[in-house]
Symmetry: C3
Subunit: 350 residues, 3 copies
């Protein structure tokens, strides 16, 4: 009996199955400092406890994407250790803020299964949820991945493809309790632009580019306790499809979010991940740029102090975004430099 976990294969998943993931994780100011060193994020609410308290947080909450990566990392050993491809995200929502000292754990429910016609692989749909030590939801999302079968002769399960919302509607967005933007200081936050200043269809080139090193993306992925082998092992990846280590897709999401500060400094909190696609792989040495299109402006019922923006951020590699590559619809005619197409909702003071 081997003591080493081989991970789950396609035929190991059952509809309705609930998986309690291992490795609960206490988040600390150490994680926050590393996150800053990895991405250079400057959103004031995550950077300053004073700023955060001024608008109703108990302390500086950790970056929403750090919470997402930590929860995502926990799911990898059970869900995607034998994955061929990470196909997409939907219906992502952030719940209560995560503060240093909170301990996160993750649970996934299998909500869809679909064997591929080649009978080698199948698509697994899960709803993953991260909880804090008080069992409050901190982030949840739907994800689907293509997973290898252990035995290609194993019978196909009944096909279940779950319905998926194209976006999280305004009424489903969760705001932190006690949030009050009356004391929001736009000078300290780094930009005068409020919710009313953004227009649907407006495009923002975030200008700056950031080159990625091997030590950086591996440190990030280890920090998230994400165990996917393709990120860490040059000895095997050197002989693989790309000849090199593949960068965790979430690393690019965080880089793009950090770059987006230049133009979206007051988009201080992500409240939803409507969809996301890793269009092309990235590798050490690539320089990542990003630009954003404002897709929708959403009023939040009962809130005069803030509004939501649904954004589509496109990240590219080795290509400055002044020409707004891939302004078309998601999934079609991608410019060859595009690596990420990310659709998410932020809140901004009015």
């Amino acid at each position: 009996m081997t003591k080493t976990s081989p991970g789950n294969f396609f035929e190991d998943f059952k509809i309705g199955q609930e998986i309690r993931h291992a490795t609960p994780r206490t988040v600390t100011t150490g994680d926050v400092a590393l996150y800053c060193a990895l991405y250079g994020s400057r959103f004031a609410v995550n950077s300053s406890a004073e700023f955060a308290r001024q608008i109703g947080f108990d302390d500086a909450p950790v970056d929403d994407l750090l919470a997402f990566h930590l929860v995502f990392g926990k799911t990898v050993p059970d869900i995607s250790l034998n994955a061929v491809a990470n196909l997409g995200y939907a219906e992502g929502r952030f719940g209560v803020p995560v503060y240093p000292g909170d301990t996160l754990r993750a649970v996934s429910e299998v909500i869809g299964l679909k064997e591929n016609s080649n009978r080698q692989t199948g698509v697994v749909y899960v709803r993953s949820t991260g909880f804090n030590q008080r069992d409050e939801m901190v982030v949840e999302y739907l994800r689907w991945v293509m997973v290898r079968k252990r035995d290609t002769n194993a019978p196909a399960p009944e096909e279940v493809v779950p319905p998926m919302a194209a976006k999280v509607p305004a009424e489903a967005l969760i705001l932190p309790a006690g949030l009050d933007l009356a004391g929001y200081d736009t000078t300290l936050a780094g930009s005068p632009f409020r919710w009313g200043d953004y227009q649907v269809g407006e495009a923002i080139d975030h200008v700056d580019g950031m080159t990625i090193e091997e030590a950086e993306h591996m440190s990030a992925t280890r920090l998230y306790q994400n165990t996917a082998k393709v990120h860490f092992n040059q000895h095997t990846e050197g002989q693989g499809r790309f000849g090199r280590r593949l960068i965790y897709g979430g690393h690019i999401i965080s880089l793009a979010r950090s770059l987006s500060f230049n133009g979206l400094a007051n988009a201080f909190k992500i409240v939803a991940i409507n969809g996301g696609r890793h269009v092309a792989p990235t590798f050490a040495g690539d320089t990542v740029y990003a630009w954003t299109q404002v897709e929708e402006k959403m009023e939040i019922p009962g809130r005069g102090d803030l509004g939501a923006l649904r954004l589509r951020t496109i990240a590219t590699k080795d290509h400055a975004c002044v020409d707004l590559p891939c302004k078309g619809q998601a999934g079609k005619d991608y410019h060859p430099a595009v690596v990420l197409d990310f659709n998410y909702t932020v809140i901004v003071p009015r």
Copy 2:
């Protein structure tokens, strides 16, 4: 009079000499986060304060090897700045757990001296001990290093070679006060295998490999305030024996321990280091793999909730361990890929 410390040479050491090492160090959650980012460790007890409290710790203790590296680092400027080779470890024991906020200091006693026949170098044996701010022992170990003489004409000291135990016996192992594994959750810990599931002679291939970058091993070694020059200076090492910076051996121990999670997830605490040998040097670009053989099962007097396993973990470079390279006795017939042979004792819930 030079203000720069040249370190101690062989003839500077005297039997019975006690050296109080410099640079006391307060350990923080920042160190814990960096340790996670460097090795991707997933042992639940170090990752989650909630998990740790559930089994009787006051908080998440820092990784035992982080405490070891910090104490070891303090000894370097006094013991091994002029070392030619780090020859071995023995009789290592971990004492009270180290928690964030604790301040560590280190003391060494010279317990053996033996000049080499070439009269250029000699072997220095020390017992080093790390203490916390309450003067409680957190880790102690015996180490012997080959150190250069300042003056080859200096007279040889009387030869003293201290006795060394082949292993730390079960009755000498120290368990954290208050430890009670009744509440140990194997699902959260990541493996169903308990003490009773392991067999003497059983071999576990930890499967995964991790490639090391220069920035990583240097950051680790600086974090431990280890000042050995060979790890940091490409300008001189480029003209040296290997043409490159040598990786601190402890970095490989930590990598191997982290990889061992896959197969030994419930081996949640190291209680002894029985012996260790850095069989070959490692360099940036090397990919480290590991496998472990269970050498001995030890019952702990009065404890029905846990037992100890004496393990021998072998780490290799650029060679997957599916063939269990070097299954023979320590020190003989090493497979050319082997870089570390580490014999230590862990505790595991029953």
Copy 3:
């Protein structure tokens, strides 16, 4: 209307203008751990809370240069995003110690303007001040940078070149409240040499060298939330003047300070930055060495337990400092290996 900040150009600055910089920053033990991992600093007062309390601090203060870099980083988006060159520092003083948990913000006042004869650029002189959450000054300094004009036809402002002191005099130095060196332990601090042991004119070769990796200097610069593009973007810098990313000059200052421990271990606190010049650029792969000349010994009125030393630390690349390169006057006849000429004042126990 673009949402992206282009930064200020020369003609945007006005004499007397006060700029409140964005991105307040709560400093944590995570930052302290990263700082240690980046530079391997061993000054006991920053490393050990116990040591710090023993001499009258409330806790281990963060490294003075970490506070400096964080404040400096905040000023970059407003002051030097369009800078051609960072010309110098003067009149730098450290105020109240910064402890983990403190939140820093920065303000700059424009105190000088001088258009260059080519009308393409001008020199901007600012006095920048970092404050904690109680509005206490933690660091202040004068800095002058050469900044591009947006429009070369814009009229030149009235020329104002502020007076600058050659050094901060002893009576202007600020000591932490409650500091009392009676309990200072030189063994734990790592050196027996006290203030009285240093002589004016004495030179100290710090011996060790440290090679810099891209991942390291970029992580440092992001940690400081310094947004200067030249440090991060290989895609553009590869086609630029040097063909590679330029290392933030402050990274070299911190490396030199860390190397200076070997010879100046008891110089436990920087109290002033009298002047500094980045003589030549540094790049990943360079190995930095340093040596220091004692320029002046200053008694501190009313303090028998400590004195100040004014130091000039020279850092080089790929050149060991045994020959004390550039022992002449600052700014003249620099040895080609010199990259930094830094004049600062430290306090040392008597």
